[in-house]
């Protein structure tokens, strides 16, 4: 089975082609150019290098979120457009799960952290039994101190990775009470090879969807929706108060 993997959820843009237990190609850049300018040229480069006939791809796996809203949509729209043109189904990989899969085989608890701004991180907890990944805590937005507290309570060794490490390193070092380390450069950011490899597992379990139905999972309402909800709630509360 051949899987095309795409991840443009964060600062990294990454494209990979995995065929069964072979990584045929991976192209990852972590540079300031926008994903809109890089992602498809990268795929084109990869396809040329490995003489890839896109029609031989079985599924397109894409990091579905969370992440940068715009970045997610560039990845999604690219996957959806390819799916439409090639008549292929998509596989949506939770971004934090994809990050955790970089650490396949680790004995420690895996804690990817992505900077979610507004004093939050997108995070989750994962563990491996050999090559099998188990989700201990599903990806969600939360306070960095809260996830550290949960890890401390579990009293297990932990490895941190993700672009949130740079932002929260000092806080982690100050608050963490269990043995820990930070993942090295070759595995601490999004990698499409992980998305594609995990996609292969998903495909075997039948966890695929049509290109038309795929949409990013932002894990966050838009500011306008949030403010409207708060306004309606305040209105509702004051109406109840006057009754």
């Amino acid at each position: 089975m051949k899987i095309l993997g795409l991840d443009s959820s964060g600062l990294v843009a990454s494209v990979a082609v995995v065929e069964d237990d072979n990584l045929l190609a991976e192209y990852t850049i972590n540079y300031k150019k926008t994903h809109s300018q890089t992602l498809l040229p990268m795929l084109d480069e990869v396809a040329k290098m490995i003489e890839l006939d896109l029609n031989t791809v079985d599924y397109i796996a894409v990091a579905m979120g969370p992440g940068s809203f715009t970045g997610l949509r560039i990845g999604s729209a690219t996957a959806k457009g390819l799916g439409l043109a090639l008549k292929k189904e998509l596989i949506s990989i939770p971004t934090v799960d994809g990050l955790a899969y970089n650490m396949v085989g680790s004995r420690e608890l895996i804690c990817p952290i992505m900077d979610a701004r507004r004093n939050q991180v997108y995070t989750g907890l994962y563990e491996f039994c050999k090559d099998q990944m188990t989700v201990v805590k599903e990806q969600s937005p939360m306070d960095i101190l809260e996830i550290i507290r949960e890890i401390n309570e579990m009293n297990r060794d932990v490895v941190f990775l993700g672009d949130g490490v740079k932002v929260y390193k000092e806080i982690i070092e100050k608050e963490i009470k269990v043995p820990y380390y930070f993942a090295p450069a070759n595995m601490n950011k999004q990698r499409a090879a992980s998305v594609a490899s995990l996609g292969l597992c998903y495909a075997k379990e039948g966890k695929v969807e049509s290109a038309a139905m795929h949409r990013p999972e932002y894990l966050r309402m838009t500011q306008a929706e949030r403010e409207r909800k708060e306004r309606l709630k305040a209105q509702h509360d004051s109406e109840n108060a006057t009754l």
Binding site: T34, S36, Q37, T38, L39, L40, P41, L43, D44, L54, F69, T70, R73, I74, S76, A77, T78, A79, K80, G81, L82, G83, L84, A85, L86, A211, A212, R215, P216, Y218, T222, Q223, A224, E225, R228
Partner: protein, 340 residues
């Protein structure tokens, strides 16, 4: 006929997710528009992040519907055209990334299209005889441009708004008199009950730009008038405000447009953009053109507001001219007409 040229066009620059199939530049085989207006009405205007989210949810269905309604397949298409600016960057990016991936996956040429060029080109759909040169007034929620269309793809911008777009002024005044969003059609409806000469609102001139527009002063004048009425405890006649405001906008647009056509000795005048759907403006331009012996063109309302058919038409002429976009095509929110 194997000599036909078919374009699949995609448009997502604001709050409409749209796709269309155009044959030989002037025949609309399908024109699908998935509108988000109802959703944005909750917020009193277009919320960019919500628009982007809706685009990605609807885009494949919209494109598939466009192909299906045209009875066409992607394989039959000669090129994929897409709006890459101007517009809301997040919204544009969805269409651009999608179009690039479709073109790449289907091995088709990609043609990036300017949104305003699309609006202008909407006139070609129903006016098979219309060819450049002609004068075109583009008026919408985001744009107010007076353009001398010298040839296909060759534009000279004679004037544009210095502040609010005409459609933006409609939205703001509609909000001020409690009509809500979208302002254009609501003001037009209300204005039917009112007297367009009841209130004298200013017709602004821009000192150093003979063809430029300014609508923020007019908008302020309307707001001041409403406040004045409130302070004096006078009854506010919404219909008269709507009618008088609309008349003021129309007067300025007509005056600038006709003057430009006469001074440039252009005998054809076209109108485009969402505000071109306004019947009062259309009628005023039509009679002014007739008086000057200028032929007047306008698209049906469905081709005035944002749609992909117009992008397909513009894309066709760009395709003929040899325009091809690369896989690194980016969305450019402030793209200038005539620039690449």
């Amino acid at each position: 006929m194997c000599n036909d040229i078919n374009i699949l066009a995609i448009e997502s620059s604001c709050d409409e997710t749209a796709a269309a199939v155009i044959r030989n530049g002037r025949e609309v085989r399908s024109n699908i528009i998935s509108s988000q207006i109802a959703l944005h009405t909750l917020y009193g205007g277009v919320v960019p992040e919500i628009a982007s989210r809706k685009h990605i949810e609807r885009i494949n269905q919209t494109i598939e519907e466009a192909l299906e309604e045209a009875g066409a397949t992607l394989e039959e298409m000669d090129a994929i055209a897409v709006t890459y600016g101007p517009g809301l960057v997040g919204a544009l990016l969805v269409g651009v990334a999608e179009a690039k991936a479709i073109a790449y996956g289907a091995k088709k040429p990609l043609v990036g299209v300017h949104h305003i060029e699309g609006h202008i080109s909407a006139n070609y759909i129903e006016n098979k005889d219309l060819e450049p040169p002609f004068m075109c007034l583009v008026v919408s929620g985001g744009h107010t441009h007076l353009v001398n269309v010298k040839d296909y793809g060759t534009y000279e911008i004679l004037g544009k708004t210095r502040d609010d777009a005409a459609g933006e002024a409609f939205d703001k005044v509609a909000r001020a008199i409690g009509l809500g969003y979208p302002g254009g059609p609501k003001i037009e409806k209300k204005a039917k009950e009112g007297d367009p000469f009841a209130i004298s609102f200013p017709r602004a001139k821009v000192a150093d730009g003979p063809y430029d527009f300014s609508f923020s002063g007019l908008k302020s004048a309307v707001l001041n008038y409403i406040n004045g009425c409130k302070m004096k405890n006078e009854e506010i006649n919404d219909a008269n405000i709507a009618a008088s405001f609309q008349q003021a906008v129309s007067d300025v647009l007509v005056e600038h447009g006709i003057r430009a056509a006469k001074e440039h000795n252009v005998k054809k005048f076209a109108i485009a953009g969402g505000v071109a759907a306004n019947a009062t403006l259309r009628e005023a331009l039509k009679s002014a053109c007739e008086k000057e012996g200028i032929r007047f063109y306008h698209p049906s309302p469905i081709f005035c507001t944002d749609n992909a058919a117009m992008i397909g038409v513009a894309g066709y002429y760009e395709y003929l001219a040899g325009t091809r976009s690369g896989w690194d095509l980016n969305a450019i929110p402030n793209l200038k007409l005539g620039e690449r």
